[in-house]
């Protein structure tokens, strides 16, 4: 047929769908078939702009034929073509629409996969949008009770935050990961997440936060009895001692080397900045209450 001329296919399909005096009902069935053929032909010819439009129309056609699964698949292809073009807003919109259609089908896993794909595509261009997509993907999975699958997404989002140097947000995300791990009894991942959060705080040179985080984590029994707790205590005590060598040694330990590689990179770069201030800060805090006692 006219497989070699997608423009003609598109024109034909448009004619089928456009309503006019002679045509009272759009013939979506045939039109969708033509749109799909045209879109594939465009993709082979690497005309991604036109392929994207064709996929969009094909997806709409499938929606009209009440087949949300095919519609979602076409939306994803449209988004992939948009990524090639470089139109980032459209990429995000298409992936969101695809995930909505998947949720309509009642399949949460492909929905979150679509959002994750979108986030990965946008990591370099629009990192904030990527974070939002990751968060939504995790929410989708958690609503459906499949938190186990969300771990990878959390880790990816954390690495994006760290790339953006937003360490507070990264640590918060890690704590959310720990919460998800707690919900599905994944103690090892939970402890790893806590240790990673503490390391991120230390890398951001925020010792108080790190200590607070450590104290919070020690409330959790699983963390209290784990190897990661030991490593954390070593690291924090090295910080309070102000001993750079000790910090370096603690950071090279095998427990930390089993974490996510982004976190390992951060740990290797510890300590950042002046460590002695922490040491002094600790003693100062102790002296002040004593002085007050003495005064009274």
């Amino acid at each position: 047929m006219s497989a070699s001329d997608p423009d003609k296919l598109i024109a034909k399909a448009d004619k089928l769908t456009k309503l006019s005096l002679t045509r009272w009902n759009a013939d979506w069935k045939n039109a969708t078939v033509l749109y799909e053929q045209a879109a594939n032909a465009y993709r082979l010819a690497r005309k991604y702009e036109k392929a994207k439009d064709a996929f969009e129309k094909a997806s709409k056609g499938q929606e009209m034929l009440s087949s949300p699964w095919d519609a979602a698949k076409h939306m994803e292809s449209a988004a992939a073509s948009a990524k090639e073009v470089g139109n980032w807003n459209e990429v995000s919109d298409f992936y969101r629409r695809a995930s909505e259609l998947y949720i309509e089908c009642g399949r949460s896993q492909p929905a979150s996969d679509a959002l994750a794909k979108g986030a990965r595509a946008l990591e370099d261009a629009l990192p904030d949008e990527a974070i939002r997509l990751y968060t939504d993907a995790c929410a989708v999975l958690e609503d459906d009770g499949k938190e186990q699958m969300a771990f990878d997404l959390y880790r990816a989002a954390t690495s994006v935050y760290i790339k953006l140097e937003k360490y507070e947000d990264a640590a918060t995300f890690l704590l959310r990961l720990a919460l998800a791990a707690d919900n599905c009894n994944a103690k090892h991942s939970q402890c790893k997440a806590y240790l990673s959060a503490i390391i991120v705080y230390l890398y951001a040179h925020d010792f108080q936060q790190a200590e607070k985080c450590y104290n919070d984590c020690c409330q959790v029994e699983a963390f209290l009895n784990s190897d990661q707790n030991r490593a954390a205590t070593k690291l924090l005590s090295a910080y309070t001692d102000g001993d750079v060598e000790e910090i370096k040694r603690a950071a090279q330990s095998s427990i930390i080397s089993n974490l996510d590689h982004v976190i390992i990179k951060l740990a290797r770069k510890l300590p950042t900045g002046d460590v002695t201030s922490f040491k002094r800060g600790a003693t100062d805090d102790q002296e002040e209450p004593l002085d007050e006692d003495d005064l009274t």
């Binding site: 186990q148 994944a186 090892h188 209290l224 190897d227 707790n229 030991r230 205590t233 427990i255």
Partner: protein, 359 residues
């Protein structure tokens, strides 16, 4: 020293059980040392004859320091002070501890040697009198030297033999510790890997359960469809129905044949035997005439046969004229148009075999 000998034996065995046993021994010895310390303190305070004031003070200091240093000797059984704080005794700790051991034993010997000279002291612990005399010798040497350097040089001279044993033990302990460190690192890695694998499997289990249910549903669908297909087939192909089908088929064929025969041109062959006619005087050679009937020529060409009636009685026919009704106009109802002689011959066969020109 009994305990040193025991330690030496343990070192010779060179395995982890020996290390544990050694640690237990060291613990025991520490306990005994601690028991003896108060006695030593009393002894130290006792005024001895040829002892200068500084040395007395030095001895007092030694004794005071001794309990701490005894406690500081690691015996491998200290319970983890913080949860799971690994007893990663580095090598320098061990060396330090060996020095401690040496210095403790030395101070004990020094003090005990002096106290032996003063009065009886209980002790299988302080049995080695020959060593006590050795210590006395180098104690005299020590008088000449500074107080702070006594720990190192005299120990080499004085406690040479026990130090050999001790260093041997310490070396083996060091080696064992190195090996144990490496093993522990490997175990750490293994543990992490195993835990990660555990969680991954936990993640996969519900997915596989889903697949399982879907596949079960599909197999049951297939089975049901197979059964229905079997029922349908048996219904269709049962023998009774099969015979009925064949009979009906035959009837249909018969009807078709009948219709064909009634409607289609029936094929008839007409044979006319031709007699070779020979007129006297003239040869009337039928062979000259084209006898094969041509489609359009048939009625006219055979007009010469009108004289047939005047012939003599028919003899042996000389030929058969065969013609087919579908090739010519001669239809059964057309025989009336035939010339008379031929018409009368239609039922009698005429055969043309060969036409010879004989006269």
């Amino acid at each position: 020293m009994v305990w040193l000998q025991k330690a030496e034996v343990a070192a010779v065995e060179k395995n982890r059980a020996a290390a544990v046993a050694m640690n237990a021994e060291v613990r025991r010895i520490k306990a005994r040392l601690m028991d003896e310390v108060p006695k030593l303190q009393k002894l130290a305070k006792k005024k001895v004859k040829d002892l200068s004031k500084e040395e007395l003070e030095a001895r007092n200091d030694l004794v005071l320091v001794l309990p701490e240093r005894i406690q500081a000797i690691p015996d491998g059984a200290t319970s983890k002070q913080t949860q799971g704080w690994g007893a990663s005794s580095s090598h320098k700790n061990i060396k330090f501890d060996s020095e401690l051991l040496i210095s403790c034993s030395y101070t004990l010997f020094i003090i005990s040697s002096k106290s032996i000279s003063d009065g009886p002291v209980d002790g299988d612990f302080f049995q080695q009198t020959e060593e006590a005399s050795q210590f006395r010798q180098e104690f005299e040497m020590r008088k000449m030297k500074q107080a702070c350097s006594f720990l190192h040089l005299p120990s080499i001279f004085g406690i040479f033999i026990p130090i050999l044993f001790i260093s041997h033990i310490i070396k083996s302990v060091l080696m064992q510790d190195e090996g144990l460190d490496i093993i522990s690192e490997g175990l750490d890695t293994l543990k992490n890997l195993a835990k990660d694998m555990n969680e991954e499997l936990d993640r996969q289990v519900p997915l596989i359960d889903e697949i399982d249910t879907k596949v079960d549903k599909t197999t049951s669908d297939l089975r049901r469809n197979n059964v229905r297909l079997k029922e349908t087939l048996t219904k269709v192909r049962s023998t009774r129905n099969f015979c009925i089908d064949i009979i009906l088929l035959c009837i249909l064929l018969g009807i078709a044949t009948y219709l064909y025969h009634t409607n289609v041109k029936p094929l008839k062959y007409y044979k006319i035997h031709i007699f070779y006619v020979n007129w006297v005087g003239s040869r009337y050679d039928l062979a000259d005439r084209p006898l094969a009937p041509r489609r359009h020529d048939f009625p006219t060409k055979y007009s010469y046969l009108e004289d047939f009636n005047s012939l003599a009685k028919p003899q042996q026919p000389h030929g058969v004229l065969e013609f087919r009704t579908d090739l010519c106009y001669l239809q059964p109802h057309d025989t009336k148009s035939l010339p008379e002689p031929i018409r009368s011959l239609i039922n009698r066969s005429i055969r043309i075999d060969q036409l010879d020109n004989s006269e």
